[in-house]
């Protein structure tokens, strides 16, 4: 039986050699320049996918060293990738550069240690002091809160207390008093005949934005679903993947397989695009039980649209006072082709006037641990992103990834714009929730 999780093996990570054919497929046309956020910040060949694939090809051909021997300039190029996958979307030959970069990072980290991956060597362009003040930032993130966050959480990679950029540069989320798991039971019984779903919350929703998770569960409950929130679930592994920490990704994948396998649910719902990409897409490349788990993963926007939520919302009377809202495509939804469902949901919300912004599918610049190691580039990419928000005049930028919300908030604030960033679920009020009920 292909669909039964038997908890044997989490699967394995691909190594650079596995991508030999994919690397050959790059015809060096340069089209990735039109899509790559890192290119837009630096405009060096090493920033863009074509350059990174050339580094990979040179490694395979023995022209550049491998692992710990990889030239520092090449490491810098490999480090300067948000792993957003935008390049692959625009690539005529579907070269999976983010996966290739991941394989090189794991190779370097395994031989030279994790710090060899993320830490940029002396930056080539401009004078960059990547890491500035640290002390104040630590306070902003409430160390007390961080004590509760597991060692393996991606939050520790995204917000390493000793490496945070100075406060004022970046909006950090206010810590939540109680995590999502302290607020909700592990199982909420639904109506007979309705889907059995599990919610994969992910670190940001669990620890920083539990109110989004609560809203998600509330929506699912109103739809009559039986909802599981297994406490054994952990980080999806994306930040670890971005850091080149293959063994940690494997451990997390195993834990998640253990947490979700016994539930035998119809779907595993995510409300964080990156988590969805991690457990839905990356686990798929690992094979084994991780790949079986991956098959059940559905983004909430897709699930809600299939459940007819758009029609029910559209049937509500339009609110008198509406907000102008635009949509930001998280890279990890865009890359999975999930473009229409969130737009349909937004357009159907009675209190929303949906407007399309220019560059909606452009990366926000967060890129997992990229914003930690390449703060300056990250902020530059964010600057370009919010130009579209300003032009379309939206009051809110809605998205479906907590990471994007944080980065967009930072960029909007730095640009002095009045617009705010929100998670799409935050736009569901009591009237909207009531419309979902099945009876």
């Amino acid at each position: 039986m292909n669909n039964v999780l038997v908890q044997k093996t989490p699967g394995r990570h691909n190594v650079l050699e596995d991508f030999a054919d994919a690397i050959q497929r790059c015809v060096r046309c340069g089209a990735c320049q039109a899509y790559c956020p890192a290119w837009s910040a630096g405009r060096r060949e090493g920033d863009v996918a074509r350059g990174k694939v050339a580094v990979a090809a040179a490694m395979l051909a023995g022209e550049l060293g491998r692992g710990a021997e990889l030239e520092s300039a090449a490491r810098q190029d490999i480090s300067l990738c948000l792993m957003c996958g935008s390049c692959t979307c625009g690539c005529p030959n579907d070269v999976p550069t983010a996966e290739i970069v991941g394989a090189i990072r794991r190779e370097v980290a395994a031989e030279a240690g994790l710090s060899a991956v993320g830490v940029g060597v002396a930056a080539l362009l401009g004078s960059k002091t990547l890491m500035r003040g640290v002390a104040a930032a630590g306070a902003a993130l409430a160390p007390l809160m961080m004590e509760k966050v597991p060692e393996s959480s991606g939050l520790r990679l995204r917000f390493p207390l000793d490496r945070l950029p100075a406060v004022g540069e970046r909006i950090l989320p206010a810590p939540a008093g109680k995590s999502l798991f302290a607020r909700l039971p592990e199982r909420i019984e639904g109506q007979p005949g309705r889907p059995k779903v599990a919610f994969f919350a992910g670190c940001a929703i669990t620890w920083l934005f539990p109110q989004i998770g609560e809203k998600m569960v509330e929506v699912l409950v109103r739809l009559g679903c039986t909802v599981y929130l297994p406490k054994g679930q952990g980080c999806c592994g994306m930040p670890a993947l971005s850091s080149g920490d293959g063994p940690l990704v494997s451990r997390l994948a195993s834990a998640n397989v253990r947490a979700f396998a016994p539930l035998n649910v119809d779907y595993i719902i995510t409300a964080c695009a990156s988590c969805g990409s991690g457990i839905g897409e990356y686990y798929h490349t690992m094979g084994g039980d991780s790949a079986i788990l991956a098959k059940k993963v559905v983004d909430f926007t897709v699930f809600l649209e299939e459940e007819g939520v758009c029609e029910r919302l559209a049937a509500l009377p339009r609110a008198v006072k509406r907000q102008k809202v635009c949509w930001h495509d998280p890279c990890h939804l865009k890359n999975r082709g999930i473009l229409a469902p969130p737009r349909h949901l937004l357009a159907a919300l009675p209190g929303v006037d949906f407007v399309e912004m220019e560059g909606a599918s452009r990366c926000c610049g967060l890129g997992g641990t990229f914003s930690v190691h390449h703060s300056e580039e990250s902020l530059l990419i964010g600057e370009k992103k919010v130009e579209g928000v300003q032009e379309c005049g939206a009051e809110l930028v809605a998205t479906a990834c907590p990471g994007c919300v944080m980065q967009l908030e930072t960029s909007l604030c730095r640009a002095g714009l009045p617009a705010r960033a929100v998670h799409l679920l935050e736009l569901f009020g009591e009237a909207e929730l009531a419309a979902l009920a099945n009876d």
């Binding site: 046309c29 990735c32 320049q33 060949e45 030239e71 005529p92 030959n93 080539l124």
Partner: protein
Amino acid sequence: MSSLERRLAAVVGRNRVTTTKTDRLIYGFDAGRGRFLPEAVVYAESAEEVAAVMRLAGELKVPVVPRGAGSGLTGGALAVHGGIVLSLTRMNRILEIDTENLLAVVQPGVVTAELQAQVEKRGLFYPPDPASKEFSTIGGNVAECAGGPRCVKYGVTRDYVLGLEVVTPAGEIIHTGGRTLKNVVGFDLTRLFVGCEGTLGIATEITLRLLPKPEAKKTMLLFFSSIDGAAESVSAIISARIIPATLEFMDRATLACIRGRTEIDLPEECGAALIVEVDGCREWLDGEAARVMAVVAGRDVIGSVVAETEEESERIWQMRRAVSPAVREQAPDCFNEDIVVPRSKIPQMIRRLETLSVESGLPIVNFGHAGDGNIHVYILTDLREAGMEARVDALIEQVFAAAVELRGSISGEHGVGLAKARYLDMELSPDTIAYMRTLKRALDPDNILNPGKIFLRGRDDE
């Protein structure tokens, strides 16, 4: 730190020079087939820096190869004789959009589509639209005199360049043309530099002519049972005094490549297709579209799609954009040549290509900007087969010979660069080539600027 790196660092600062193995490797290619490692890569941020690099290179007798997006197909950005690759991607500011005089002033690293988006927001229009416009730079477009589908009506890059700031091989900064449409003072150096493939000077500021943005457009997709019907329709449309904004052609082999990859149903019996787009005043377009349909009627047309909405039009263009990647997947190696013939000779050229494909036993896929006579000839092959390289070379030479015989050209928009240098004498007489080389030698006696391009032998033949 090498002495070259040290000297360059003194000019642009340490942060904008690199000589690492990694950077030399990844700046060793462009979108074509060649690979040559430079000794150093420099990122320039001003005309003064470009000039200083040229002066230093002249002193050290080291080649300089200007580079934009590296999206050229003929090797124009390759460091054939080593030296310095001078990246202009960081000079990417749109300096001015003058809505009163309809012109824009840009730095060379501005991406073509970005300029187009910005001017279109102001109701203006920059027509040249090479397939790579989403990532190619204006500097590269100027150096290669880039074309694109819209050239049938609007002309090529040279028709939009009013003036240039150019760094000469000697490292001087000169200015050509200006901000006016009329200007006959002195030689027309602007036209000399457009299409010079970076061998005579480096454009560091470009003044471009803009047009008002056409109010509307209408896209038609026409299916033909025979290739002759389509080819003759191209000539017939033009000779009926209709100049569409674009007039794209796809042969049977092209359609076979994209069948199933597009939302549009392509009939099996379809031997060729044309995409015709007319633009202008909204009221005028229906009549113009009807005239096109009347002209092609009776020429083996077996079906047509006339887009009534923006989405329908987009579906047709999506089909056209699917062509290049689909064709490239058909064979391990693919040679893309961009011959051009007078428009009335399109039917003859297409027939000639069909014969050549049969004779050589190598599949040829033809599509492209038929409206201006520019046909993209894709030769599909596998170079791992013994003797294949020679067979392909022979076929390419025959394709070029046919284009020249019909009074066309071996390159419509990709340039000569490295890839076509050895065919130059098929089209140009010895005296013409000698004249060009005299010019190059006079302006760049040490052959510092982009050596090894256009002409067969580069720096070592002086």
